[in-house]
């Protein structure tokens, strides 16, 4: 079984493209589209890495990240934030709350794959 990545993203076609891309890269991909139940899904799915959209229905990615980092169990989970807001204050806020990396939409597929490989380190499927 490969390493698990959870994509919390409400845009169906972005999810479908990333799902294809990361599956090809060896990841076991799960998806979730609702911000208000994202923490429960993380607890259930127990991913090795989390890709978290900033703007989600129900709850923002920043709020989810804040609560996630308050839980000892998830304080070291690598998190890649995705957002359509290119403003530096959003990036700074995400990094201050404990995001490990940040990509602004529209990103390139290569950027996503490379960033996840760097964040995962030994957890990346190709490393095992």
């Amino acid at each position: 079984m490969g390493s698990r990545v959870l994509l919390v993203e409400d845009e169906v076609n972005i999810f479908e493209a990333l799902n294809f891309l990361l599956t090809r890269d060896g990841w076991e991909v799960s998806g979730h589209a609702n911000g208000s139940t994202a923490l429960e899904e993380i607890a259930r799915c127990r991913p090795d890495i989390l890709v978290l959209d900033m703007m989600l229905p129900g709850r923002s990615g920043l709020d989810i990240l804040r609560d996630l980092r308050a839980l000892a169990e998830w304080k070291d989970l690598p998190v890649l934030m995705l957002t359509a807001k290119g403003q530096s204050k959003d990036r700074d806020q995400a990094l201050a709350l404990g995001a490990n990396a940040y990509l602004t939409k529209p990103f390139s597929n290569t950027e996503v794959v490379e960033t996840l490989r760097n964040l995962a380190g030994s957890a990346h499927p190709a490393a095992s």
């Binding site: 076609n13 972005i14 479908e16 493209a17 294809f20 939409k105 529209p106 597929n109």
Partner: protein, 443 residues
């Protein structure tokens, strides 16, 4: 060190204005001298500012030159003069010599049409700059715009990722290829819709801003159009406000309409507390001096100052022209009634030496002072700072300062030495002013 030559005062330039006007009409010196029954050599002395004139000769010259006498003695109004000076000093210039700011009076005398055009364009540029600033601020905090931009960027992200896959995977399974083609089509449709919505939102913003003016300017234009007097509200009270608002066609911005309504409610309240007829009668009896009128208002100084500024012009009582400036405790001018010779800036703060600002140091204590503007004009000013509403326990009061200004008539000696003031540092030529906090564009 040599002393800097003193620039001629506005009044000292009467002769220059007579000369400029005569030349613009194509009159010979001897023709004009003959028309007013003086010698050509005496007119020559007058035109070179070597003889001061007044009385009948001034009136005769003004009549012969087909202008108002005040145009010869005072030149253009201070606001126009300030706008021309600001226009001359705006930004970096890429060609031509520096504008001759010392000869603005001459320019206005010889080419009044061009002068008005320059001032109008300067006003328009300043208004456009303010509108751009307002739009930038609005764009940064507009939730509709933020949502629309998120939609567009998300759609572009989906299109980019999907098309990258289609290009990078030439041997893609037919099922996946079909799904990605459908996804691309969906996202293209969505992008078309969201881009159209975004454009419509921008167009809506443009219409709401009404082109070039800030809400405060729109309100002041509405008040200026009726001389700051609303007979409907004087007789009908607050119930007349909706009709008055509907009649102010310039209030194209919803924010401006709300602000105007608040200002008119204050007017209605003032009119109810100090009804027009007895107030006007008492004011006329005391030559429109605020002091004897205070008992009528129960000591509410700001109320008296506002009511004087709202009196109707043109009646038998000969109400003088009043200027009014109101600023909040942060120093921002929130309402203005301008008069010609006393310049109140359109944007930014006024002069720190105005009693308007000094009043904040002694709340509830009325202040009165004589003021001298850089061009030499004398004014009487009354000011007070007081809460706009009662404060509750633990609630900070909202304080505003109000200043009423009136020109001192020719020959009327001030009862105390005038304070040298200006229109605000940027447009003030007083280089050594102790209150200067910013450089002047005039130096």
């Amino acid at each position: 060190m040599s002393a800097k030559p003193k620039a001629p005062t506005r009044q000292a330039l009467t002769g220059s204005r007579i000369r400029e006007r005569r030349m613009s009409l194509g009159l010979k010196q001897s023709d004009l001298a003959g028309a007013v029954e003086i010698s050509a050599s005496y007119l020559n002395l007058i035109e070179h500012n070597k003889r001061r004139i007044g009385g009948k000769l001034l009136l005769d010259l003004a009549r012969a030159l087909k202008v108002e006498p005040a145009r010869l003695t005072e030149g253009m109004d201070a606001t126009l003069s300030d706008m021309l000076k600001a226009a001359a000093n705006d930004g970096a210039r890429s060609f031509g010599p520096k504008p001759e700011t010392a000869r603005i009076d001459e320019l206005a005398g010889r080419f009044p049409g061009w002068t008005g055009l320059i001032a109008e364009q300067r006003k328009r540029i300043a208004a456009l700059e303010a509108a751009v600033e307002g739009l930038q601020d609005r764009m940064g905090h507009d939730p509709v715009l933020a949502g629309a931009m998120h939609e567009v960027l998300s759609t572009v992200a989906a299109i980019r990722s999907t098309s990258d896959i289609l290009v990078a995977e030439p041997d893609l399974d037919a099922n996946w290829r079909g799904r990605f083609h459908r996804n691309l089509h969906e996202e293209a449709e969505r992008l078309s819709t969201s881009a159209t919505a975004l454009l419509a939102h921008f167009e809506g913003l443009g219409r709401q801003k009404g082109g070039v003016q800030t809400p405060q300017e729109l309100i002041e234009a509405g008040f200026d159009a009726v001389g700051h007097h609303f007979p409907q509200i004087e007789t009908g009270g607050a119930g007349a406000i909706p009709d008055v608002l509907d009649s102010m066609e310039m209030l194209t911005d919803l924010g401006a309409r709300d602000l105007a309504e608040a200002r008119l409610r204050l007017y209605a309240d003032d009119a109810q507390r100090l009804p027009l007829a007895p107030f006007l009668e008492m004011a006329a009896e005391h030559d429109f001096d605020p002091q004897p009128l205070l008992p009528m208002a129960g000591g509410d100084v700001a109320l008296v100052l506002r009511r004087l500024a709202n009196l109707p012009a043109g009646g038998a009582e000969a109400v003088p022209e009043f200027g009014l400036a109101v600023c909040d405790a942060a120093g921002a001018l929130v309402f203005r009634r301008r008069i010609n010779a006393f310049s109140i800036p359109r944007f930014g703060p006024g002069c720190a030496l105005w009693p308007l600002y000094h009043a904040f140091s002694r709340p509830m204590v009325p202040e009165a002072a004589n003021l001298e503007v850089p061009e030499g004009g004398l004014f009487r000013a009354w000011a007070v700072s007081q809460p706009t509403r009662s404060a509750g326990f633990g609630t900070a009061p909202v304080v505003e300062a109000t200043m009423l200004v009136r020109a001192l008539e020719d020959g009327q000696a001030p009862d105390q030495s005038p304070v040298p003031v200006g229109p605000g540092c940027q447009l003030c030529p007083r280089e050594t002013c102790p209150a200067r906090r910013a450089g002047s564009v005039l130096t």
